[in-house]
């Protein structure tokens, strides 16, 4: 089995599904690139090169470059999904949901319910989230919480190449709208990824590390932060169980609760701002359903209630790190 980066894993997932199903199309700005210009075709292959080569393999009718019109992109994808295609639309940065949220919030998410169960909307929206690249306040947010809040939407936040491929293939074959979050600073992270197609079911969290002293729930890039913290804690003789949510909607409540019932202690690590976040959501779940077994306050390690700062020094302070996670765990696992 070959090592592949998250970039390669996602590209491979798209390739396999486009080859398997003619209804799968990729839509977005510069998903190929070079349209209407004198240089190369497929000049970008997505701003991060994730869709590179798909244009050559499947051509313009399946890899669709668009004007800078996210509302039209998302709505076109939603309308196409409701009428027979399986579009994978690229939003580029999740921050741009601000200009096109209606087509997800009020359209794609609600078709099935509003239309009395008669609609199917197999739409996938790929987007980039997260800090670490100095992209500042409008290109670094973690907005998966807002999508998780919307009934009718599924939300995926993979943390490695293996999961990214399996979850994306699942998302494309899924009959509901799925928002797929990719961390912009993780595309080059590589691990073992099979060449063939495989799916990872939604709503099944991954226990990255077993431990009986404290449960650390994390998602996306924060899973690696949590794992690093767990190592530091192990050195102090504290065994942390690290849970990667993989999907926030559906949420694997069972795995979280079972773990906390064992450890009695919970730390949640979320790169997002704290208010109405996934961190708060998981804390509330446990405070409601595992209270009797809880032996300490639930700690959330998140970004502060501020926009993402530009300066690298400030951004480093803004982002949760292993030290803060370990510290939070020590405070309650004492």
């Amino acid at each position: 089995m070959a090592k592949k980066t998250i970039r390669e894993a996602i590209n491979e997932a798209l390739r396999l599904e486009m080859a398997r199903d003619p209804a799968v199309v990729v839509i977005g700005e510069d998903v190929a690139g070079g349209a209407g210009l004198d240089g190369e075709e497929d000049a970008f292959g997505g701003v991060m090169g994730v869709t590179k080569g798909l244009y050559g393999a499947f051509g313009a009718p399946r890899v669709i470059d668009t004007p800078i019109s996210e509302t039209a992109i998302m709505g076109m994808a939603a309308g196409a999904a409701a009428t027979g295609l399986r579009p994978v639309a690229e939003l580029m940065f999740c921050d741009f949901m601000g200009v096109c949220f209606d087509q997800i919030l009020n359209q794609a998410a609600k078709f099935r319910y509003m239309f009395g169960g008669k609609a199917r909307t197999p739409l996938v929206v790929r987007n980039m989230y997260g800090g670490g690249l100095g992209a500042a306040a409008q290109h670094s947010q973690c907005l998966y919480g807002m999508f998780t809040a919307v009934p009718g939407i599924k939300v995926v936040v993979p943390c490695n190449a293996y999961d990214a491929k399996g979850l994306l293939i699942q998302a494309i074959r899924d009959d509901d709208p799925v928002i797929f979050f990719e961390h912009k600073a993780m595309y080059d992270v590589a691990d073992e990824v099979p060449d063939e197609a495989y799916t990872i079911p939604f709503g099944e969290a991954n226990i990255v590390r077993e431990g009986g002293d404290v449960t650390i729930v994390a998602l996306g890039r924060m899973v690696r932060v949590a794992a690093k913290a767990a190592e530091q804690l192990a050195a102090d003789g504290i065994e942390a169980e690290v849970i990667d949510l993989r999907t926030t909607s559906p949420l694997d409540e069972e795995t979280i609760i079972e773990s906390v019932e064992e450890t009695g202690r919970l730390v949640i690590v979320d790169e997002a701002n704290p208010r109405c976040s996934i961190a708060a959501d998981v804390a509330a779940l446990v405070a409601g359903q595992a209270f009797e077994r809880l032996e300490a306050p639930i700690r959330q390690v998140t970004a502060p209630h501020t926009p993402v700062p530009f300066s690298p020094e400030l951004e480093r302070l803004y982002l949760p790190d292993a030290g803060r996670v370990a510290q939070a765990a020590r405070e309650i696992a004492g």
Binding site: P22, A72, I73, G75, M76, A82
Partner: protein
Amino acid sequence: MQIGRDDLIAAWRSMVTIREFEERVASEFATGDMPGFVHLYAGEEAIAVGACLDLSDTDVIGSTHRGHGHYIAKGCDVEGMMLELFGRKGGLCGGKGGSMHIADLDKGMLGANGIVGAGAPLIVGAALTAKTLGTGGVAVGFFGDGATNQGAVFESMNMAVVLKLPVVFVFENNYIGKGTGVDYAVGSRDIAARAAGFGMPVEKVDGRDFFAVHDAMRTCIARARDGEGPSGIEALSPRYYGHFQGDPQAYRAKGEVEALRAEHDCLAIFRARVVEAGLIEAAALDEVQAAARQLVDDAVRTARAAPPPSAADLTTDVYVSY
């Protein structure tokens, strides 16, 4: 224009069914037994029917908050809609959608929409499906004069032109958006010309004249089917009722609606034309209208007798699987 007798009868049936439906909904809503908000299409029948007459179930339409007329013109079930408006079990959306979300995907009716302008990208998507899968279908979107100022509509026109998609934009200019006049809200004061600036032909027609609408749409639909890309029409016709039921229409001149009904009603215009041209005899038209009234009356009786959705329905249909 040459339209066969059967098609003329079908068109008349659609137009009078819409009128009978809307007039009846007005009175039913007034009883207080019909929940939510309803926006009535009476007065604009010729637009929906002229636009949809040549469409089949493989063609898709996107509607607005004022969707009853588009729904009937597209051949969807009248009783199913009446049940839905009353929020009853058996309603076309199981009582979960109501007037503002009336839809029938099997018939290519992609839904009314409570978000002004939001249907535009959706029908562009339906057109993308038709082009990508080669179904030969076209997508027709309806938009009010007010909706033409929404970013979603502008972006969609450009997108349809760029991707050369089989879309027809139907701008229903009833010269009012809620309580604001089109000449105030549309800075250019010309919806068709502004739309044409996006790179597609847009023809302005009298929306009260079924034949004018149908002629213009025939050209647009043919163009779309031939792979020549999007186009549009701006059809002018007033609405007879308030923005929503209960709206006193203080923004309109006294007697404005009465005059419009008396002098330029689209049904009267159609009737006069076909009778004078000897295409259909008045009696036949009356028969069709009586049948339509009966259909609506039966629908109301069925709807009023129908049970509400069951409690279990609250949490179903959120996802295909979760």
